[in-house]
Amino acid sequence: MTDTATAPAVRDSSGDDIVLSAKGLVVEYPVPGKKPVRAVHGIDIELRRGETLGLVGESGCGKSSTGRALVMLPPPTEGEVMLGDLRLDGLSQKQLRKHRKELQLIFQDPISSLNPRRTALEIVMEPLTFLKHPKPKERALELLQEVGVDAAMAKRKPHQLSGGQCQRVSIARGVAQQPSVIICDEPVSALDVSVQAQVLNLLERMKDEHDLSLVFISHDLAVVKNISDRVAVMYLGRIVELAGSEDIYQHPRHHYTALLLSSIPQPNRPEKLQDVANEGEIATSPAPSGGCPFAARCPAATEICRTVMPPLAEITPGHRVACHHPIPVEAEPDLRSAS
């Protein structure tokens, strides 16, 4: 794109490596006649330039709410969101709109994310015409070409495309405004395995070619591991563990992470892994006493876990965990011993 005049303030702040961050992020949803439901309980999160940060957890853990709050759609109930040096919360709608193009979203449902009455080409042209691109049609076709949608297919409407093709169109639309961050909310969960691989490879390639930083939200740990540099595991609205992708899968320190990993279907599972206790279900709200939300299911829970919320603390360089009794590194089950 040519309009360098409106080059974002963020890209000038090269001294700092953080492209998007949030502090004390709280997301609540109003419930008619009741107390609002708190989906995210005051988390801190930082996205470094050029990295892919995975957000992983089970349904209701607040990963999607976090992702949406990071792009102010809707804005968080509390907490601050920083796009580089720019504080997004507190901006007026009008001011915020000017910076929206820096942050894009890609959704799970390939159908719902595209306007059913528009062709793929029109969908990708829309953000370009909005930014007064001189040649929106040419640029849109170029972008579609880049994601593997040819000119003939660009004339089709979403319901005439396959799920994978729809996601490609979404990606093309997402990069059209040259954002610095894309939040991918379960972008491959609705796709078949072989199509999923195509879209994941495409995302990796687009990230490199368009200098993107990604937040990748998924319930699928294998997918998250493959695409992420760092991974944050969420449980009931909190980050319980945050570490490098390889590190967290090899040395899970939180008992919930260990349970998640042991639950992934894996042929030839080492026998010792099957012993991870898996009982009970995710509660809908944390313990009223204010303790660790996982305490009720945790095999290592003690009295302190039920009363005191463990803070997310760095226990080895780059590895943060919120647990009073983290799994010691030696006893940790080696998931890769199978191979």
């Binding site: 593997g148 078949d192 691989a197 493959n226 540099d229 990993l261 639950s263 042929p267 898996n278």
Partner: protein, 344 residues
């Protein structure tokens, strides 16, 4: 296998009438499950795995053309030609039970869960209400529902997704079936709940000598939880045999490609995944030779002309391929079309 199979499907063919023409949805499928075994049926959407499972129970959509081709033998009896009435009275729910992906659509939303379990028991087993209730509560306990007495009285929407699926399983087990068909039973569930439900299947088949037909799109799930597996593609079984061996040493290029397309915890981050170029063929217009040929890196002239039969391959398990993968270390190869796809 020395035990008589409880279910034997031979050369099953099912066609659907669609606006585009006749779709060959299931195209000569063979299956055999012994009591106490779990047989996995794996494939991507449109492979015909769900339709195969449903055909066993005789529950097909209205646009299915019932040609009664092939045979479905259950406990020695041919059930493919049975009337709807007979299926309902003697087989469905009574001797073959089914668990669906979405328990919310399978459970009656305005009926208490206890009653939903009691009703079929009274009808099929002819026991009185009190006895049925006692058995239902016992069953709820067996499938891992806490406070079964309490949960007996609730409505489906008051339960979590995992609990609803447990209710579905209790319902399926209520008449002590010999075969359980589970169609993507855990796809809508969280991974920890999925593990619990699959553990439950394990326990049930051990305790009750239950045969299970487990349908899933997840190859690693099938490999972990099943004894045997059949990999389906475009309405056909392309590879079958022991689950672990199929996973470790796939013989069919499709199985192998599927495995390499799936991100694995064993690979480091940013591993480039294998993609399968193209799309599955239109079921209304199946190609002459092998259905996978146009996407296969090993394709030759022969594949376009002759549809490969399901015959023992290099690993001894049946495979429908002219150029099967010889061993786990042999690379699949990259075809010209696949290479093109990589570049673009």
């Amino acid at each position: 296998m020395t035990v008589e199979p409880i279910l034997e499907v031979k050369d099953l063919r099912i066609q659907f009438k669609t606006p585009q023409g006749i779709a060959e949805v299931v195209n000569g499928v063979n299956l055999s499950i012994a009591p106490g075994r779990v047989h996995g049926l794996v494939g991507e959407s449109g492979s015909g795995k769900s339709v195969t499972a449903r055909a066993v129970l005789g529950i097909l959509p209205r646009n299915a053309l019932h040609k009664r081709e092939g045979s479905v033998r259950f406990a020695g009896e041919e059930i493919l030609g049975l009337s709807e009435d007979e299926m309902r009275k003697r087989i469905r729910g009574r001797r073959i039970a089914m668990v669906f992906q979405d328990p919310m659509t399978a459970l009656n939303p305005v009926m208490r869960v206890g009653k939903q379990i009691v009703l079929p028991m009274r009808r099929h087993l002819g026991i009185n209400g009190k006895e049925a209730k006692a058995r239902a509560i016992d069953l709820l306990g067996q499938v891992g529902i806490p406070d079964p007495e309490e949960k007996f009285k609730v409505y489906p929407h008051q339960l979590s997704g995992g609990q609803r699926q447990r209710i579905m399983i209790a319902l399926a087990l209520s008449c002590d079936p010999e075969l359980l068909i589970a169609d993507e039973p855990t796809t809508a569930l969280d991974v920890t709940v999925q593990a619990q439900i699959l553990d439950l299947f394990d326990k049930l088949r051990r305790e009750r000598n239950l045969a299970v037909l487990l349908v899933s799109h997840d190859l690693s799930l099938i490999a972990e939880r099943c004894d045997e597996v059949s990999v389906m593609y475009a309405g056909r079984v392309v590879e079958t045999g022991s689950a672990i061996s199929t996973f470790e040493a796939p013989q069919h290029p499709y199985t192998k490609a599927l495995e390499e397309a799936r991100p694995s915890l064993e690979n480091p981050p940013h591993t480039v995944l294998r993609t399968i170029p193209g799309r599955p063929p239109q079921l209304t217009d199946l190609p002459h030779g092998c259905s996978f040929a146009n996407r296969c890196p090993r394709m030759t002239e022969l594949c376009l002309d002759v549809d490969p039969p399901l015959e023992p391959g290099p690993a001894g398990r049946p495979v429908a391929c002219h150029h099967p993968v010889a061993g786990p270390d042999e690379p699949l190869g990259v075809s010209v079309t696949a290479a093109k796809e990589r570049i673009s």
